[in-house]
Amino acid sequence: MTTQRLENHLTLTINGEMVRLKEVSPTMTLLQYLQQSGQTGTKEGCGDGDCGACTVAVIGQGCDRKPHYQAMNSCLIPLAAVAGQEIVTVEGIANGQLHPVQAAMVQTGGSQCGYCTPGFIISLFAAYYDRTLEDAAVEGNLCRCTGYLPIRRAAQRVASGQSGDEGVLHVGGDRFAAKLEHVTPELSPLSYTGNNQQFYRPTRLSDALQLLQHHPESILVAGATDLGLEMSHHRQAFPVMISLEAIAELQQLEQMAEFVEIGAAVPLSRIEDILRGVFPSLDEMLHWFAARQVRNRATIGGNIGTASPIGDLPPVLLSLDAEVRIAGLVGERTIPLANFFKDYRQTDLQPGEIIVSVIIPKAIAPNATRRLSQSYKVGKRGTDDISIVAAAFTIDLDSEDRIVQARLAYGGVAATPVRAIAIEQQLIGKPWNMTTIQQIKPLLETAFTPLTDLRGTAEYRKLLIANLFEKFFVETSGLQ
């Protein structure tokens, strides 16, 4: 299918109503569309995916492959990416009566100025149907008035079934729960043109590779949590885009005895749910990774493909010795992730190539008897933040607690995510004790030359590089 017929309309469903759009730019964001069409309940607080005021719920596939309401930042969603999908906004959830999450927010005083409120409502709404109404449900929503406490109380109140006078679910059952019973949120293939921009969403890898060959100028996109910023602020033109979201080969997540293979287009929230308990350092980092709205869109392939030096996942994947599977028209190749990052925002990806998957081996070193592995993210804010320094460590020990293999990986300390290879080699054969840590710390402090920026000074970063390793030792040795 090298020549897909370009359609000139997009259809999507908003609050139960199907809309058919013509001539719109495929990279107009969902938020911009909502605002321009007078549906102003969904707010723009920043247009950067930071504040969550624009949160909408999109019915998407959960880790169980069943439909779920997923909270997402509409300011970062290109309109074409939600073609064929069902979207719920704050205006759509009260049906005469308030929804339980709305009733609880009124009762607890969870709304003050009210501008962030619609975003909180939708985050709570999505969590309500996932039965995950804990504090983390609102980690991606910023509020400047209430101090969050009444919002947490609202979540607790709904979770414990006290939704008050209003907000009793409607007679005949909950229409939102019922809706989930009969939708299939499979993404269909799409070829759309509007406003002189083309947007392709193939469903097979071979089709994507063909398209890429035909349109070498095209830009690959998956969750758009990074590119969405450029769209939101119109900082970049996107004449041709190829979405990788619907490609079956990129949506696989396979757990084998020796390794786990994660398709490049698998969203992080799904990885979080499916792999929980498999790699402790991955669990930890995903917990701190941006916020739920972003993790519902962001993909593992995107996070390494964008090659940000402060991306959260690369240090974890480097410390787990992950490999990257890459496909081109001529065939596939698999390279260590450590060889993938070439320079600031430069990767080994060649023209015409697409990241297919990330492979994480499970086996510990041959002579080792146990593995210690953990990751750390130091940011300024408790959640919903970019790291000052991210670090991930994997240490394999033999039966006498001597280090057999060490991988120390960092983000935020160089132009790319990096491993401290020279230091890793020095660690081999040494006993895993405080003496070793103290010998290594001064070397770690001078291993990299980080920058001073508004998140932290170079000196502080150097100290973190060393002290996070000590923290790792202290925590994994039960010294606390």
């Binding site: 619609p118 209430t146 119109h234 408790g382």
Partner: protein, 705 residues
């Protein structure tokens, strides 16, 4: 009278907010609306040598481009804060001067927002540039001029002698960083002219009637020809009180292009063009006797303003208020930098002032080996030492004692580095809070209807504070009808002037006016209760009984000093390996007179404490040291707390209604909660680590370094 005042009432506008039907400034649907995008300066100090708009003018959808060469005419308003006020005394596009990076130098109007923005990027600007003044260490300070009629310099006693003869002295300098208000709703305005001499402005404003008069003066119109519509405000904290240059320009250009025009600021534009709290440097000298009686306080403050307006962060306002001292000296200095214009931000002056004073008091307590609560109790003052008036209904000691009790303060070991938990240092700290009791004139109309409901109408506003509900609760109390039967309309200049939502005065101004108007309605009906009046209405077949009443402060202002009080108690943990500071537990006890809505009042305090935690831990707006351009430009670079940074916060109120102040006895609660917060945290950090941090924010590098 019923008994609603003081209970917990859910917000009357809560339903509108949770369903997305509350309409904010940018969201009013006006047919024929066109969009404006600002052109902003890329240098911090210089002159525009040439500005080429030809390409922009030819771009698709572009309707017009305005620069200083074709600036629409506006008139300088009185700008006295009585009649009218604008944030920046230089009118937009008035000449080719650039005074700060990001300054507005033009506006592109187009049929869509995207096309206006594209047009703005096509405008080519050439500058003659001079080195900007942006290094706080290299600027020249001068004595600060009076602000709003009040002098800063003050002296009583003999400061030199007081300091010289003291047993214990503390001398320290405290700094605070530039902070942004960062409301979640970005600044937005729609200006809609009906012909050339009638203007409707949809703009969030903390001062509806003031905005009406200001726009009228800007365009030389009678006030009644201007209508302000602002039913909802998405957070303000001081930065949405009066028009900024973009708003003046929007209204002026809308008249020129004869189309309703909308301008919305981006987060980046807000950083330069919508105010900030100036950074401060404060030197404090405290002297005390061996038993902890203060003998001298000298407080010297430096802050910064822009080249185009004067705003002084009035830190020394709190110094004569807190503690009795025979020798007192106050001084404020000001320097001009090439930065945007600073302005009021939640507790202007009180907040940074108490950061310094309450840190210094803690240092003094340690030097004296005295409990900091005891030190404060010992030195409490019964009178305002500058006004020479006694405080009315002051219950500061109760705040300290009740707070200490609720926190378990007496279990605190009086030794640094004495508490640990999970491998982290734990510390406890406390600080006082204060904010003046302000009140202004307000007018309210009440309409009682035969069906037993009432409408309350006033051109006040609710920026999230809970004013709608305060008005409803007060009316319900006086009329004796349920809160649900009161409909409140605010935020429209066609209604009676409800005064200013600033200086925490809206409740104190409005509640007495609502009371008076409700009483007037009952008097007009010649009934003692609203139900009697409604019955009479139904019998007579009349439509409604209506009354308007005003209320304003009077002779009491000459007899008393009105001030609210509080105390914060904080627990922090410090992970010394990585410099991570967390606030883990909090108690605030406030004395604000009569609480009207307990739920909203406690929430105001909690929200303010969290903004204070942000100030203490993370909020700082950096400028590029070379260009002067803000390098903090969005919510990923200007950090304020997320929910995970929020500890449990126990809030209690003590004291009695302040009936000297107004007939309700309420003093307002919007700002006091943020005062003292950063000092309580720094004091707790000292207890945890033995490290005295005197520079906000208390970022990890400072904790480790």
């Amino acid at each position: 009278m019923s008994n609603v005042i003081g209970t917990s009432v859910s917000r009357t506008e809560g339903r509108a907010k949770v369903t997305g039907s509350a309409t904010y400034s940018a969201e009013h649907q006006i047919s024929g609306l066109v969009h404006g995008y600002l052109i902003t300066a890329s240098v911090a100090n210089g002159q525009i040598r040439a500005i080429d708009t030809r390409e922009a003018e030819k771009a698709p959808g572009v309707i017009a481009v305005f620069t200083h060469k074709n600036a629409p005419k506006v008139f300088m308003p009185k700008n006295d804060f009585m009649n009218s006020k604008i944030y920046e005394a230089r009118l937009p596009l008035s000449d080719n001067q650039v005074h700060y990076a990001g300054q507005i130098i033009g506006l592109v109007v187009a049929d869509t927002f995207e096309r206006a923005r594209h047009g703005a990027h096509l405008v080519k600007v050439e500058y003659d540039t001079q080195t900007p003044l942006i290094d706080a260490k290299k600027v020249t300070f001068k004595e600060a001029p009076p602000q709003f009629g009040e002098e800063f310099a003050f002296a009583k006693g003999n400061i030199a002698a007081g300091l010289a003869n003291a047993a214990i002295k503390i001398e320290a300098t405290y700094t605070s960083s530039t902070e942004l208000h960062a409301p979640i709703e970005p600044h937005a305005i729609i200006a809609h002219w009906q012909g050339a001499d009638a203007l409707t402005v949809y703009e969030h404003t903390q001062w509806v009637a003031g905005a009406q008069r200001t726009y009228a003066e800007l365009f030389a119109l009678p006030a009644e020809k201007v209508r302000i519509v602002a039913p909802y405000i998405g957070g303000a904290f001081g930065c949405k009180a009066v028009p900024w240059p973009h708003a003046i320009l929007c209204a002026a250009v809308a008249r020129q292009v004869k189309r309703p025009l909308k301008v919305v600021l981006s987060r980046r534009q807000m950083t330069a063009n919508a105010g900030h709290r100036s950074e401060t440097e404060q030197m404090l000298r405290l002297a005390a006797t061996k038993d902890g009686m203060l003998t001298a306080i000298a407080h010297e403050v430096k802050s910064y303003t822009s080249p185009v307006d004067v705003f002084i962060e009035p830190c020394t306002g709190i110094t004569p208020v807190m503690y009795t001292v025979p020798n007192l000296q106050l001084k404020q200095e000001l320097a001009v930098m090439n930065i945007g214009t600073p302005t009021f931000m939640r507790a202007p002056g009180e907040n940074p002032g108490l950061w310094a004073l309450e840190s210094a008091m803690d240092e003094l307590a340690w030097a004296l080996k005295m409990d900091p609560v005891e030190l404060r109790l010992k030195n409490e003052t019964r009178e305002h030492q500058r006004k020479g008036l006694p405080f009315s209904a002051k219950h500061f000691a109760d705040c300290l004692n009740v707070g200490a009790e609720r926190f378990g303060w007496n279990d605190r070991p009086m030794q640094v580095r004495s508490l640990t938990r999970d491998g982290k240092r734990v510390g406890w700290g406390m600080a006082a809070a204060t904010f003046p009791g302000l009140r202004g004139r307000a007018s309210v109309k009440v309409r009682l209807l035969p069906d037993g409901t009432a409408h309350v109408l006033t051109a006040a506003n609710d920026m999230g504070t809970g004013a709608y509900t305060v008005v409803a609760v007060t009316a319900a109390e006086v009329l004796g009808i349920p809160v649900e039967k009161i409909r409140v309309e605010m935020g429209d200049s066609r209604l009676p002037d409800g005064g200013l939502a600033g200086g925490s005065q809206m409740t104190a101004s409005l509640a007495p006016a609502v009371t008076a108007a409700c009483q007037e309605v009952l008097k007009t009906a010649n009934c003692t209760t609203a139900s009697e009046a409604c019955a009479a209405l139904r019998q007579s077949g009349r439509g409604a009984i209506e009354a308007t009443a005003s209320s304003a402060p009077g002779a009491e202002m000459k007899k008393w000093a009105f001030q609210s009080w509080g105390a914060h108690f904080a627990e922090v943990t410090v992970d010394e390996e990585i410099g991570r500071l967390r606030v883990t537990r909090w108690v605030s006890v406030m004395n604000i007179g009569q609480v009207i809505n307990a739920k909203a009042a406690a929430s105001q305090v909690r929200g303010a404490v969290i903004m204070g935690i942000g100030q203490a831990l993370m909020e700082e707006a950096h400028l590029d040291p070379n260009t002067g351009y803000p390098v903090v430009y969005d919510l990923a670079t200007y950090h304020f707390p997320a929910h995970a940074d929020t500890p449990r916060i126990d809030v209690a109120f003590v004291g009695k209604p302040d009936l000297n102040f107004n007939p309700i006895g309420a003093r307002g609660v919007g700002e006091i909660g943020i005062t003292g917060v950063s000092a309580a945290i720094a004091n707790a950090v000292y207890h945890a680590t033995g490290k005295r941090l005197r520079s906000l924010p208390l970022t990890p590098d400072k904790l480790i370094g």
